[in-house]
Amino acid sequence: MAAIEERRNLGETPGWNVDPVLVLTLVLLAGFLAQGPVRRLLSTPVMQSWMTVFVAVVVQALPFLVLGVLLSAGLAVFVPPSFFTRVLPKRPLLAVPAAGLAGAVLPGCECASVPVAGALVRGGVQPSAAVAFLLSAPAINPVVLTATAVAFPGQPRMVVARFAASLAAACVMGWLWQRLGRPDWLRPRAHDHGAGGGRGEAFWGSVRHDVMHAGGFLVGGAMAAATLKAVVPASWLHAAAGHPVVAVLALSALAVLLSICSEADAFVASSLTQFSPTARLAFLVVGPMIDLKLFGMQAATFGRGFAQRFAPVTFVVAVAAAVVTGAVLR
């Protein structure tokens, strides 16, 4: 029974019942035997820089993913669900900004906030509040704001604008979800804690589950980001900087495609000097909320139906928040 169930979950044909351990062994063996030709193929500069950026994004993001996964497993196993419902205000109007501000205490980047938000939803927190937390945590925590201040010396307004625009966009998304969201869009993957298993089993089961799901999508996002970095010439951006509206849209799209960690994106933004401050603010607000690797990780944690609806709306709200904040604080 378990085997049939497993095949159905994988969406594979019934005739495909090869032992996965054998598949993995064959994959590893094939990779080992083919390393000579593969190395020759990879010796061109463009492929080498692709590989370097790909490995760099994965190596840099995995520690933060592991941190978030550990926090998420700890929340799921050691904190009773009633705790969150007691701490957060009952009314969504207040719970959303409260959860958004609570994001300031998670000292990590966006890779850490996705699994933690997943644990909050499973723990019975209102989805609208969890959404606000998911979006605000990677942008307004002290580590990221300090990095922003270092990257923009003598421009404290950039830090203030980033904090205000990110928090506002997160709250708007939370309230939007409260008004328009339907429960069946949100399908947090049920965790297999194994009835009767101890806390240790539940904890490590949650860690394994989150790393396998989000890690796979993280690798996919890293491949997309490396392709962009290796293929698209930076001079294209130079051309977009001249027009105020195109500049904002270009940097917002760049934030989505590059998938840079929110602890590092301020330094990239500060180097894009030919762009207006509002365009650079949009880069800083959009990046931690939605990018290629985040889309994959959100789909893995909350279900594809959620990610497909959530990502475009998040993009629009984040750009709007950045433009309004940029206009007010100029």
């Binding site: 590893l28 080498q48 370097t52 950026v53 760099a56 394994r208 790393v211 396998m212 180097s271």
Partner: protein, 229 residues
Amino acid sequence: MNRTVQAILLFLVGGVLLHAGLTGLYLRYVKAGLQPLVLAAGAVLVVAAVATAWYARRRPGGHPAPRVSWLLVLPVFALMLAAPPALGSYSAMRAGTAVTAPRILTPLPDGNPVRLTMIDYADRAVYDHGRSLAGRTVTITGFVAFDRDGTPYLVRMLLNCCAADAQPVKVGLTDRVPPVLPPDAWLEVTGAYTGRQATDPVNGGTIPFVDVGRARPVAPPADPYESLG
């Protein structure tokens, strides 16, 4: 993908992170300060692999991982079999120079010649117009890159977090430039400030130059990148 395979994959990913963190391989991809985090993540993944295998033996079954998890094989291959090199002249000449905004300058350290980082030299040359460099010789280390016209540059990539956000610091070479320079070769250049400057065609940043007194080929440094603070 059953839990045994998941345990093996977790072990492999954790293993390559530990390997990269312990051998210094990680310095090609992320900044030096991330080493403890990389090692801790590798250790946690190895423990998770052992725990997964242990619980799978005690109670078989459980739900499988999605097929996207197979992608985790790729970074294992990339790190174990290929171990791509640090970013070089190809990436450097496609990106705009990092010298675009003034930073706070500290007094020049003692010594003649004085050893400076590339970004420190470039900042002093561009934003201080070489005032703090007057009458001194400096030593800077980087790799060689050429632009389309064949002008030689000494370049070092500036890292904030990982190689995905790396930006080149370009310093043009003038005066006694060695006649034969292969791209990506590492050089230690001892020379003096010159007022000559160029504009980076990629992002409009400023490229300072250095009057080469002596250029010596050196082995690539353990940390091929520079970072601020």
